[in-house]
């Protein structure tokens, strides 16, 4: 199978910061808002280089989302940033009315998503954000897998007209996609061709899916790995074409199985081509404090969990 090389572990939020640095130079209408988390969102350079386009809102996320919506009136492209919990759950109604229903060109960019923010614990580990955001009509939902892809996605959404939720994280993870690659919203990426099982992964779980595919190959199982960086709109065609071949699927995400990628895939398959599916996702639970690796192990979100899920789904096939 095709091998991927990790060019060095780095956090996806730094990919966001790098993308913002470039947008600062190339897109004069891009503005950034942040609710007292400038360093955590890697926006220090943007704030320093473009102080007139950086808006420190203080710890007041509701006002931040409303202001971002208002700034689109006059042609600005606001990137409203915080931790994923405070950028979605805390401000759901502001996003719903002032951004989504009003169809404003706001980019909600959220770091520290999922379990892997680690020691801060469940108050900060949102596992429901993809569901919250994908349910909003007109909202595009993107969850890139590494530094390079997060940087590319950050830049790509500036040229997409309409509200976007961009989700990334805190831990250092393998960086393996192409540097300065093109990011096409809604276009899933085939990473590995296979014939026995389809593994659909998003975000931090994509690297684990690749590792799982290698392990499975050693046991004679041919896994197809697809990077679903865009949860909405879902690349129906890519998924259905793969399922036609493999006849079973494992979905992998750092999110609750309720409301996440797996549920979107289930809906698609139920309507078009029902096959057995296993979910590598959290099971309707909150997280807790721990290191990212400990948490991913305890909640079943790592390479081992994916291999196990593949074996389970293959047994049913």
């Amino acid at each position: 199978m095709k091998k991927f090389t990790n060019s060095g572990n780095i956090d996806t939020r730094s990919g966001f910061g790098a993308g913002m640095d470039e947008l600062g130079e190339t897109h004069e209408n891009v503005v950034a808002l942040c609710a007292d988390l400038t360093g955590s969102l890697k926006l220090n350079d943007f704030a320093k280089n473009h102080p007139e386009r950086f808006f420190q809102t203080g710890i007041a996320e509701a006002n931040m989302i409303g202001m971002a919506a208002g700034m689109t009136i006059g042609g600005k492209v606001p990137y409203a940033t915080s931790f994923a919990n405070f950028a979605t759950g805390r401000v759901y109604d502001q996003i719903r009315q002032s951004v989504a229903y009003s169809n404003k060109n706001v980019k909600i960019c959220a770091s520290h998503a999922g379990l892997t923010l680690g020691e801060d614990g469940a108050t900060h580990q949102i596992l429901e954000d993809l569901g919250l955001m994908k349910m909003l009509p007109g909202m595009t939902v993107i969850n890139p897998c590494d530094f390079n892809q997060t940087k590319a996605a950050t830049k790509a959404i500036a040229d997409h007209e309409g509200p976007v939720y961009l989700r990334f994280g805190r831990p250092s993870v393998p960086n393996f996609t192409e540097a300065d690659g093109k990011f096409e919203i809604g276009k899933a990426l085939h990473l590995v061709e296979g014939s026995d099982v389809t593994i659909l992964a998003t975000g931090h779980l994509v690297w684990h899916a690749l590792e799982a595919a290698e392990e499975l190959e050693e046991k004679g199982i041919s896994a197809e790995v697809i990077n679903i960086h865009t949860i909405k709109p879902l690349d129906d065609e890519a998924i259905l074409n793969s399922i036609k071949k493999t006849r079973c699927v494992v979905t992998c995400e750092e999110h609750n199985y309720l409301g996440g990628l797996g549920e979107s895939v289930s809906g698609l398959l139920a309507k078009n081509d029902p096959v057995y599916q296993e979910f590598v996702a959290t099971n309707d639970t909150f997280g807790e404090s721990g290191t990212p690796a400990q948490l991913m192990e305890k909640y079943g979100l790592n390479t081992k969990s994916i291999v196990k899920a593949v074996n389970k789904v293959l047994a049913k096939k």
């Binding site: 503005v31 007139e52 386009r53 808006f55 809102t57 203080g58 007041a60 509701a62 006002n63 931040m64 989302i65 409303g66 202001m67 971002a68 919506a69 208002g70 700034m71 689109t72 009136i73 006059g74 042609g75 600005k76 606001p78 109604d93 502001q94 719903r96 009315q97 002032s98 229903y101 009003s102 169809n103 404003k104």
Partner: protein, 281 residues
């Protein structure tokens, strides 16, 4: 510029539009709409700098945001009669397939509306964003917003009020409709807010009162005074003292007509008190 008589005639027609819209669908919010009729007419017919037609960005003109979206009947009437969309369309208010939704929205593309409102407490943040975009664009026109007094109970307002003063946003004039009423009763009974003036001043705003909030001349004078206070390093707040239901005697004095539609007989009474001046839709 229209004279006072012309503005008052305009208000009379707007009041008719309000009660007729709400009666036509047996739902909606006439009380707050009537109380703000003079304010809307003063703003759109006299005070705001407006371009011909409508574009979402609103560059090189003043902007207005309605935060307490439930008073949509007055907003729709004044927008229609200021040329944003056909007056005839008022008859579709709150009906299926209409651009005139129960609460204002951009979703159906109604000209004159720049943000959805209805879920309370969000409009000041939006106005602040638009005001800062104007500054970035080198556009020295103003942003106006209107809020209910009960609406100030929503916490997001205070985030916005804090931000506006802390960042010296001085191209924004936010008006509070101080009618002292909300759905469950008087604002004093539901959640007493104490002195709204003292609160805004404590947050660092420049505050002025329009004591006669249903007197068109007083409103025009107050809005012009507010304009003269912009550009001085502070956001400006107008406390507009209005009477809910003003202009229809049986709808005044209390909160009963916050969200209730008149029946046929009540409609006739209301219309008899407000002569047709610009032609009913």
């Amino acid at each position: 510029m229209p004279n006072t008589k012309q503005l008052e005639d305009f208000v009379s027609q707007v009041r008719r539009d309000i009660v007729r819209q709400v009666h036509g669908v047996s739902s909606g919010h006439p009380g707050g709409s009537l109380g703000c009729a003079e304010f809307f007419v003063a703003l759109y017919q006299e005070v705001m700098k407006r371009k011909e037609g409508f574009d979402m960005d609103g560059k090189d003109e003043d902007l207005f945001f309605l935060s307490n979206g439930h008073i949509s009947p007055v907003f729709y009437s004044v927008l229609a009669r200021s040329g944003y969309f056909p007056v005839e369309e008022l008859k579709t208010f709150r009906k299926i397939d209409s651009r005139l939704q129960g609460h204002p929205t951009t979703h159906e593309g109604l000209p004159g509306i720049r943000i959805a409102s209805g879920s309370l407490g969000q409009g000041m943040s939006v106005a602040l964003g638009a005001a800062q975009a104007k500054t970035l664009n080198g556009d020295d026109n103003l942003v106006y917003s209107l809020h209910g007094d009960g609406e100030l109970q929503e916490g997001q307002n205070w985030e916005a009020i804090l931000y506006a003063a802390g960042n010296k946003i001085d191209n924004l004039i936010s008006t509070i409709d101080l009618n002292g009423q909300q759905i469950d009763g008087s604002t004093d009974d539901v959640l007493n807010m104490g002195s709204v003036r003292a609160k805004f001043e404590a947050f660092g705003w420049d505050v002025l009162d329009i004591e006669k909030g249903n007197d068109i001349e007083a409103i025009v004078a107050g809005l012009n005074e507010a304009k003269s206070r912009t550009g001085k390093g502070k956001p400006v707040c107008i406390l507009l003292h209005t009477i809910m239901g003003h202009g229809v005697d049986f709808m005044m004095d209390g909160h009963a007509w916050h969200g209730k539609a008149p029946n046929d007989e009540q409609l006739e009474k209301a219309l008899a008190q407000n002569p047709e001046t610009l032609g009913d839709y």
